[in-house]
Symmetry: none
Amino acid sequence: MPSRKEREREFHRRFILERAVSLFAQHGFEATTMDMIAEAAEVSKGTVYNYFSNKQELFRTLIEWGSGRAREIGQETLSTPDTSRVERLGMFVQLFLEFFETGRDIHKILMQEGDRTAVSMKDTFGGPLRQNFMQLIDFISEFIAEGQEEGVFRTMDPHKSAFLVLDIITAEFRYSVMTESTHPLTENTEETTSRILELLGAQEVTR
Amino acid sequence: MPSRKEREREFHRRFILERAVSLFAQHGFEATTMDMIAEAAEVSKGTVYNYFSNKQELFRTLIEWGSGRAREIGQETLSTPDTSRVERLGMFVQLFLEFFETGRDIHKILMQEGDRTAVSMKDTFGGPLRQNFMQLIDFISEFIAEGQEEGVFRTMDPHKSAFLVLDIITAEFRYSVMTESTHPLTENTEETTSRILELLGAQEVTR
Amino acid sequence: MPSRKEREREFHRRFILERAVSLFAQHGFEATTMDMIAEAAEVSKGTVYNYFSNKQELFRTLIEWGSGRAREIGQETLSTPDTSRVERLGMFVQLFLEFFETGRDIHKILMQEGDRTAVSMKDTFGGPLRQNFMQLIDFISEFIAEGQEEGVFRTMDPHKSAFLVLDIITAEFRYSVMTESTHPLTENTEETTSRILELLGAQEVTR
Amino acid sequence: MPSRKEREREFHRRFILERAVSLFAQHGFEATTMDMIAEAAEVSKGTVYNYFSNKQELFRTLIEWGSGRAREIGQETLSTPDTSRVERLGMFVQLFLEFFETGRDIHKILMQEGDRTAVSMKDTFGGPLRQNFMQLIDFISEFIAEGQEEGVFRTMDPHKSAFLVLDIITAEFRYSVMTESTHPLTENTEETTSRILELLGAQEVTR
DNA sequence: TATGAATGAGCCTTCATTCAT
DNA sequence: CATGAATGAAGGCTCATTCAT
């Protein structure tokens, strides 16, 4: 039972995080200073240190938060029982694109850091990010493998296919940003889904 | 006719660049210090500044070099006359994967900065990188559009398709890095090519 | 009502300035390092930057402070109503020499920078220094012109005379420094004043 | 008997000095780099070091050169026999103003450094500059003392008067620079001379 | 002697972190 | 807990000087 104090503390902590997100997204980890964060959060620098022991922890929290949510989406949608694989996949794509839409900033961070993580495993932030990412890959991979057993998907390496599936979805985000599009990403849910189904060689898909 | 001095100077310049590449790839722009670069290049810090007026210029040179080469590959392969579209695409994929293979570090940098560029257009390094990237997209886009006119590819937005084509290729790189694979990327040339052809709805492809 | 914190901050700021003055006077702007200033002020380098955004601002503050005070002296003494011009001039000379006496260091800086300003107008520090100096010249100039109208002073270019008047006063300072004299400058008030009166051709002066 | 080589060397040395003068005048000692000097002298940096063992020596040479010339002027004009003191003084003023006119740059340097010298005796450049300056003061001082004995000048401290005499002359230079005047300084020879004579209380001067 | 690449000490400035109030 | 002044370890960059060619 969290006391009122604890709840307030958690609230304050989240507030700082939310203000920090856009700064990190805009300037990257190194170029974002604690002063900037403190100012954006309308508190003193000391206060920021009261909630986060250092800059890295603050950033790591963001990474974990974002990548954790991504993993959750996979977990929640892909294993829903009593639903066709196609429907589940559609749900997954939709929630993912919605997630991108809602938290563009956290996504920019994840993508930038994702690549850096892909690059140097020992990276401080790589840990939780990589873990969440790999779990997400596993959910997708398993989803694909089961679909193959059911004869719904064509036979191909499920693990690699999982990467490709994620790539197709994130491509939407990259395309949107590169073309400075203002259309909501979710508009492309159906198109993206069918592109994935095609990749997976889903039988029942009709175009 | 460049004098011996000039040639040596150019040689030395390249040497510093080569040593800097892996540092930037590993730590990113901000976290890589001029001291690190100087030490890696086995020269003094002053010497590095003798060849590059500042850290940004050094980095920009790398970005332009890498992204310029990527654009060239597109230009050289996709517009080859007297060759079927399928063959041209195969060549494109192969050269691109070879390029990844040869210069893994420069690619890591391009991808990291690519994402950062995708994120904030005003970025200092965005200029040349974005320009080269967009030109590459244009080459691919045109290649697709012509193929559509010839009835070789299915009808879909050529511009967006171009992004997807690139994404499919770079996905190989990402996958390779994430799984710490040691297989040469070029092994996947055929598979990647056919995946792209499938995306484009190429008629003659048989699996 | 400035809070205690604000007052302390202002106090500290002044302290750093006072310690910096003698360093600048001794070594000049370029040769004085922020490390020297920090050490002299018994604080860390970072603290200096807490009070002054950079070296130039610190120096500019000194220049403005000193040259502003010089201008004030002219303003306050020369336009005093109900006082003879001779008395006013005497007051002016006295206060000026006192000012030299009190802040020998700031004067050294003003004279050094004054010459540099005289030399290159575009100088960063020239602005406020030159402005204050010119205003001082204007006060003196006006004082002389009015004296001429009253028939107290001989006829001559008031503007140029103003420069000469100042030169005569500062000559005392230069002489004192060159001869390493320890006599208080104010001892020469009367002598200097009569020298100026002679220059101005003041009627009532008897020797 | 200087060999041709030696003469050429001396010639080259002077050339570098001449090119360096305006740089030092414009930017001051610290802000003038050896690169700038080398470029201005159209030689390599190494060559500059071939003629001057370091930056300080180069600068000191300039100072000695300039201050030596000033001393010479005093020596040559003030002790001319068979000439009235008034005429000698006129000659002195004229040559001095001409010197200012011809070598504005070296003068700027002397005035800037002169003040700095006046300030810290231990200064590296102070030595020769101070020595030449003091000798010049001595010449003037002696000239005044003798004039006093002859009854030509009023009685006053000859040493201090010498400083004032020099101040009156240099004031012309300062005034000219401050007002950005383009008139040749020598135009003011007569006016300046009579101002000095007035200071000295010369009997025969009529205005 | 001329050249200019190499060196490295040192400068200004930034910023994560600490800590007294 | 909140504050923000103080700290000092780096970092980017400059430039006088050296030295091999």
